[in-house]
């Protein structure tokens, strides 16, 4: 019954076309279905899951909380998707978040204690932090593209040393700040909606246009599928790789600034802790293969929303906290299994044999 229903549903949905985006991709179908099920489950757990209220000029409600809470990982997932599409991986993003937050907070502390040089003013501090992220990405990109070090190893260098660097920048402390401009990145509100959501949408749109309205997206995919063939086809594979790592570094910088702004502190120990794994998980759940090639920024975003909705579901469920990780693991497993063509084929076989 279900077996008949789902392909039917799929055909129906397959006819829907939004721009040049179709639902024909089966991975997309399963990702959307997973998100849908989790949201329905959340609604069952908490009757006012969908309620959104305006309180003191700010929208509050579970859906807003999910989008707001997901923003840092959403940003990471943009860079991570492109890196993974080139058959790479960026393990350093969590540490880069900590480094960039540390740089920003140390500079803004100078500004707060009266330094008047222009590079201590909040807009420049933000630019310097983004530049630091780009520099970290450049380092990763050069190691991968020009020294041909395997991405997992190359980015692990910064992953392990990065937190140490962040601690050196802050002298081992966790400095706090009060500047409202820097804090706005993490806790600002425009038209009732938290600023991190706008930030994510803006970066998403920019990167989407960059990869889909130019040939860069195609080049990224071709580098991921076969770097050598791309090279012979005239694509500068090294440049493409450096580009995606730099982009990933900048995304990490923004994510780090969001967290720093939210807590008004550069916590070099906790800022971005495990964030690289959450980002990779989201990209994989979104259906981008770790073996490179075809990618979808939109599906990666859905992957983040799946993880964040699941987390929110766990928070509002009355499960004991010890169960969280197990439930999370089971849900992720189920989603990944249903995305696997092989798994679905075997299930079909099993059903047929029974019948």
């Amino acid at each position: 019954m279900l077996e008949q229903l789902i392909p039917n549903l799929k055909n129906q949905i397959g006819k829907l076309k939004i721009g040049n985006f179709t639902w024909q991709n089966s991975r997309a179908f399963w990702t959307v279905l997973a998100l849908f099920i989790i949201i329905v489950a959340n609604r069952l757990i908490s009757p006012n899951f969908f309620s959104i209220q305006m309180v003191e000029g700010r929208l509050i409600g579970s859906l807003i909380n999910i989008l707001d809470g997901a923003a840092p990982i959403m940003l990471l997932s943009i860079g991570m998707t492109l890196v993974i599409a080139t058959k790479g991986v960026d393990l350093s993003v969590g540490a880069v978040m900590a480094i960039c937050a540390a740089v920003a907070v140390m500079l803004i502390n100078q500004y707060e204690s009266g330094a008047t040089d222009f590079y201590y003013t909040p807009p420049f501090v933000i630019l310097i932090a983004l530049g630091t992220g780009a520099l970290c990405g450049l380092w990763n990109g050069i190691l991968v593209a020009f020294f041909d070090i395997q991405p997992i190893v190359a980015t692990m260098i910064l992953m392990t040393s990065g937190r140490g660097i962040a601690q050196m920048i802050t002298n081992g402390q966790s400095p706090t700040f009060t500047d409202d401009t820097l804090a706005f990145i993490g806790r600002g509100v425009i038209f009732g909606v938290p600023f991190p959501i706008y930030l994510y949408l803006a970066v998403f749109l920019l990167v989407y246009l960059l990869v889909r309205r130019t040939a860069i997206g195609l080049m990224i995919e071709s580098v991921g599928i076969n770097a050598r063939a791309s090279y012979y086809a005239g694509i500068n594979a090294s440049l493409i790789k450096v580009l995606v790592y730099v982009l990933s570094g900048v995304c990490a910088a923004l994510a780090g600034l969001i967290i720093a702004g939210e807590v008004k502190s550069a916590d070099p120990h906790k800022n971005g802790e495990w964030a690289e794994l959450d980002a990779i998980l989201a990209v994989v759940i979104g259906g981008t293969s770790l073996s490179g090639g075809r990618f979808s920024l939109g599906l990666s975003a859905l992957g983040v929303l799946i993880v964040q909705s699941l987390l929110t579901g766990l928070y509002i469920s009355k499960l004991h906290p010890t169960a969280n990780l197990v439930v999370k693991a089971i849900v992720v497993l189920v989603v990944l299994l249903f995305q696997s063509d092989e798994f679905r084929r075997r299930i079909r076989q099993l059903v047929r044999r029974r019948a």
Binding site: I45, S46, N48, F49, S51, V55, E56, R58, I60, G61, S62, N65, G69, Q167, N171, G172, Q173, S174, T176, R187, I259, E262, V263, S265, D267, H269, K270, E273, L311, T312, L314, Y315, I316, K318, H320, P321, T322, N324, L325
Partner: protein
């Protein structure tokens, strides 16, 4: 009768001097003690270091201080140097990790130098060290619960922001808190979720609680650390409620930021994760050198503070 007056005076004078004489013997004056500290990664760690240094100075102990910069090998190297030179009477060790101490502790024991473990634990055989001085997390949980019971006359629906599941600080604080509220049928934990001791996660968990539960039904937040409480304060404010009034907040650690919140009237109470481990550690060394038997754990209990003035008075 005039004699009696003199006798009384002499007795009074003696009673004043006698305790001093005894106390002097027990402070460890003139001892040389090596102190291997993890590093200075947090404000708490720094105040812990300062507290030990101040205590040593007050007692006339010659303290050799070594900052390990988060590296176990630095700690082992420092201890081995002290042991080799034979110029310390005892070693106080704040271990950065739990395992890998057997060899150096054995070396200290063979050299007849007692070692007192402070703060985090080691997994070595207890015969290799004198005792461990550390915070009593269970006590902290009990103290927080006792305050909340009193503030609400034993009637309160509590939401709990759990620390990292499995960590001693989280499990023990939870246990202590539950022990006390179990005595009051009106005290109930209606929701409990982990915020991993992190500010952003504390905020997200609290947001979820506020949307899933009628906020009017939540009487108090019990957070396993101040960072999560600060996150919860943000969530409560964003929901248009008044923290510390509409919803009471009690947490543990007494980090500097929580006193800003107390000043602003946005939280109610914090239990100090006591940095004062110098005095009990030095007492343990002195008792050991006097040949006394010691328990293998000396708990240090923090105090509960509801305002900055009381805290400052204890930390001059």
């Amino acid at each position: 009768m005039r004699h009696i007056k003199w006798v009384v005076l002499v007795l009074v004078a003696l009673s004043l001097v006698a305790p001093l004489a005894v106390a002097q013997e027990d402070t460890g004056e003139g001892l040389t003690i090596g102190f291997s500290q993890i590093g200075s990664e947090s404000a708490w760690r720094t105040s812990f270091t300062n507290a030990v240094k101040a205590e040593a100075e007050a007692r006339g102990i010659n303290l050799l201080f070594s900052d390990a910069q988060q590296e176990q090998e630095n700690q082992i190297a420092a201890m081995q140097a002290w042991i080799a030179q034979g110029d310390v009477d005892a070693i106080v060790l704040a271990p950065v990790v739990v395992s890998g101490w057997d060899v150096v502790l054995q070396e200290a024991k063979d050299a007849g130098i007692p070692v007192v473990i402070v703060d985090r634990n080691v997994d070595s055989d207890p015969s290799l060290f004198v005792t461990r001085v550390s915070s009593d997390f269970v006590h902290e949980g009990r103290l927080a619960a006792a305050w909340l019971v009193q503030a609400t006359s034993g009637q309160c629906n509590i939401v709990e922001l759990y620390g990292t599941v499995g960590s001693a600080a989280a499990e023990d604080r939870n246990q202590g808190f539950n022990e006390v509220i179990a005595l009051f049928p009106g005290m109930k934990i209606i929701r409990s979720e982990t915020g991993n001791f992190v500010r952003t996660e504390g905020k997200q968990v609290m947001e979820s609680f506020l949307s899933a539960e009628d906020p009017a039904n939540i009487c108090a937040v019990w957070a396993h650390n101040d960072d999560m409480a600060i996150g919860a304060i943000e969530a409560i404010k964003e929901a248009g409620l008044v923290p510390a009034k509409d919803i009471l907040i009690v947490s543990v650690d007494a980090i500097p930021d929580i006193f800003d919140s107390l000043d602003a009237g946005e939280t109610n109470a914090t239990v100090e994760l006591s940095p004062f481990m110098g005095a009990p550690a030095f007492d343990a060394v002195v008792s050991y050198l006097n040949g006394e038997e010691l328990p293998k754990w000396v708990p240090v209990a923090g105090k509960l503070y509801t305002d900055r003035a009381a805290y400052d008075a204890d930390h001059q």
